[in-house]
Symmetry: C2
DNA sequence: AGAACATAATCTAAGCATCGAAATAAGTTC
DNA sequence: GAACTTATTTCGATGCTTAGATTATGTTCT
């Protein structure tokens, strides 16, 4: 309850500056005048504030709009080269490191394959650190200009004094990835669950734009969700919120790799679908197999839609979001052809009012946006704490 | 995303004043000096601010602590008689109206029985309006001193231009209770779901104290949940969040009165338990019957614990709360004797990390705290917007 | 009882942020 | 080239928090 947050007059400036910056970042170029109208701040304040931001090189002028009889407005925008963000995608099969400018244009990229059984934390950390060096030298960006490194990992990310990672599929149980990386770089680190990172990307730039209450579900080999409440990603007390895949939709049902029974993931995860369709999951090529299964329209497909619909309906009933976004490669495959059927099942299994208030759409960023999502963690910090970012609690 | 909220220097004062008031309200009497230490505000600011609050009669002096060599501290506290709050509990069997002072001491109370089939919106509104008059005159409180009326109703409360209520059990479908009441009183109105209101009471004064991330589940005839995220009750986009009872835990399972199948409520709601135990639910005396069923330890009891545990585990996995509080008369009955068994099932069905981060406890306020909870809606508004409350969006 | 001491609360001048109004800049139109 | 329009900057006023000095109100020691 009581959250002692004293406000002093300087916080006002900080807050307003951050607000202006956010607005310029998300709502494209705008003139000082536009900003004044959008924020409600007086023209005078906007003027001095943008003066400061221009002086710090954080924003730049970006042409001007033609006038129809008056001084033309000068457009302002965030300087995409003010700083850079690195996004890292740690998955079961690879470590991918990507370098972005502030506009999140990809400037460089490097990928290291992980052999199925090799998931030493040290090896992963080495790949990440090496990757950081590679992308920076490839793009010719000096390390000092990097605002931070975002890392998206599978499993549960436990925030505390140290960042601990629990990923059953990796055999990781309390791996201090933060500490391992800090030993090799002094860049600010932001470690989070990959699904959550990607969810934020979808929220910022994909199908989630403008939604304050949304859920982004990610269906691949694993199944997770990003819950967005009042504009902010919801983390829970130990930042493991969003483990939608292991909520039970069939009490006492199919065994799941988590050890439980009847988990959603045990019905709609990639492996689960193939399993139920009688396809071996030993060999590679899941994606092709799954495509074939979906095209075949066996009863398994209809069942899968049924379980997915129930899972989504549960989210609608419990959280009353205005938008649900389906992502992940399995999710996108399912959605491409079966969205109407999914919607029908959701309608059937959710209450009328919250159903009517929600819309169900597919993600727009494709299934490989984890590194991009990880980079948004860095941008978020940048937008919140412009003046001399410094140390972050996350790293 | 972009939430244009300009801050001016006066907002600082408003915010700090509200913070001081919250602190005095929740953390009992405190001296100016304590407040300075707790909030981080300078002693000077605390002094001028409390001066204003004292002048407005919102806070009062409350004795002083003995000194051990120095000027003794004067304690300050919220003036319980500064204003009053009315809480209304609209349930399937009655309309109850209660009057509270700011400390939420009950000053007066009146109850109107509802006959099973009589749930005219007009009748309910009449009872509420009559009740307001009765409690005020009983306690001798003039209407001008009432800060507002909180109303807890079953079903879904849809906030918009008008407050619309959808309650299947009542046969209410889009009932504009707000408008009906506004026709009879000019007091500020706050209508919300009764379970959510009670959840807030439990959060403020019961087992939820101090928890920023919690879920309060209410199990009675219906089943609902209050989700608290970062200290604030979560409402969702059309304020119907929390319909936990109609999340599915057995895809394709038992039919539920909502028309769906496999809802949690169809297993652990009062009627569902009795039904499954083969007890008629036609007659009154559910509570006695249920007590007997629970004592009998039939397999139905164990099953019920199983379903409840799965439902709770789902909340833990998805939301990662630090505390889950079980309330409602059925919930309290179950918890009284079966809490260890419930905990065991929850442990079995939730992931290790989020389970370890959470605690499962019983509510402390008893099953009849809906009116109290409704009154907290009024207090909340009072604490947020001290200076001249005026019109509220809720009413 | 009175002086010395200790702590709480208030007062005062200074710094910082926003704001409205006036002034200035930079175009278009007649 | 003068008149007009609109954008941006400058300037003085207002209001808020703060640090430090001052005042208030106790206890304790002699």
């Amino acid at each position: 309850m009581a959250r002692p947050e004293r406000r002093t007059v300087r916080d006002v400036r900080r807050g307003n500056r951050a607000m202006l910056l956010r607005m310029l970042y998300f709502d494209g170029p705008a003139s000082r005048n536009d900003l004044s109208a959008l924020t409600g701040l007086s023209a005078a304040t906007v003027s001095t504030m943008t003066g400061g931001l221009l002086g710090d090189d954080i924003i730049v002028e970006a042409g001007q709009v033609d006038s129809d009889g008056g001084r033309p407005r000068v457009l302002l925008r965030v300087n995409p080269r003010y700083g850079y963000a690195i996004g890292v995608d740690v998955s079961e099969t690879h470590v991918r490191v990507e370098l972005f400018d502030l506009d999140l244009n990809q400037l460089a990229k490097v990928e290291y394959a992980l052999r199925p059984a090799r998931h030493d934390p040290e090896l992963v950390a080495m790949h990440i650190l090496a990757g950081i060096g590679v992308v920076l030298s490839d793009a010719g960006v000096p390390a000092e200009r990097v605002l931070g490194v975002g890392v998206g990992v599978p499993g549960i990310v436990e925030r505390g004094a140290d960042v601990l990672i629990h990923a059953k599929a990796f055999g990781w149980n309390g791996v201090p990835l933060g500490a391992l990386l800090r030993a090799g770089t002094s860049l600010p680190l932001h470690v989070d669950n990959g699904a959550k990172a990607m969810g934020q990307a979808e929220l910022w730039f994909g199908s989630g734009r403008g939604a304050a209450n949304a859920v982004i579900v990610l269906i691949g080999a694993g199944v997770g969700a990003t819950v967005v409440a009042d504009g902010a990603t919801f983390h829970g007390v130990s930042s493991s919120a969003g483990e939608w895949g292991h909520t039970k939709i069939v009490a006492g049902g199919r065994p799941c790799r988590c050890g439980g029974r009847g988990c959603l993931e045990a019905y709609i995860g990639a492996e689960a679908i193939l399993d139920r369709a009688g396809v071996s999951t030993r060999k590679a090529g899941w994606q092709e197999e799954l495509t074939r299964v979906l095209a075949s329209r066996t009863p398994v497909v209809e069942e899968t839609v049924g379980y997915l619909g129930v899972g989504l309906a549960n989210l609608i009933n419990l959280l009353n979001p205005e938008r649900i976004i389906i992502g992940g490669w399995v999710g996108l495959l399912l959605g491409e052809t079966l969205l109407p059927e999914i919607r029908a099942v959701v309608a059937e299994n959710s209450l009328a009012q919250p159903y009517a208030a929600s819309s169900l759409v597919l993600g727009r960023l494709g299934p490989d946006a984890v590194a991009l999502g990880a980079a948004t963690l860095v941008i978020e910090e940048f937008l919140n704490a412009t003046p001399a970012a410094g140390i972050t609690a996350t790293g």
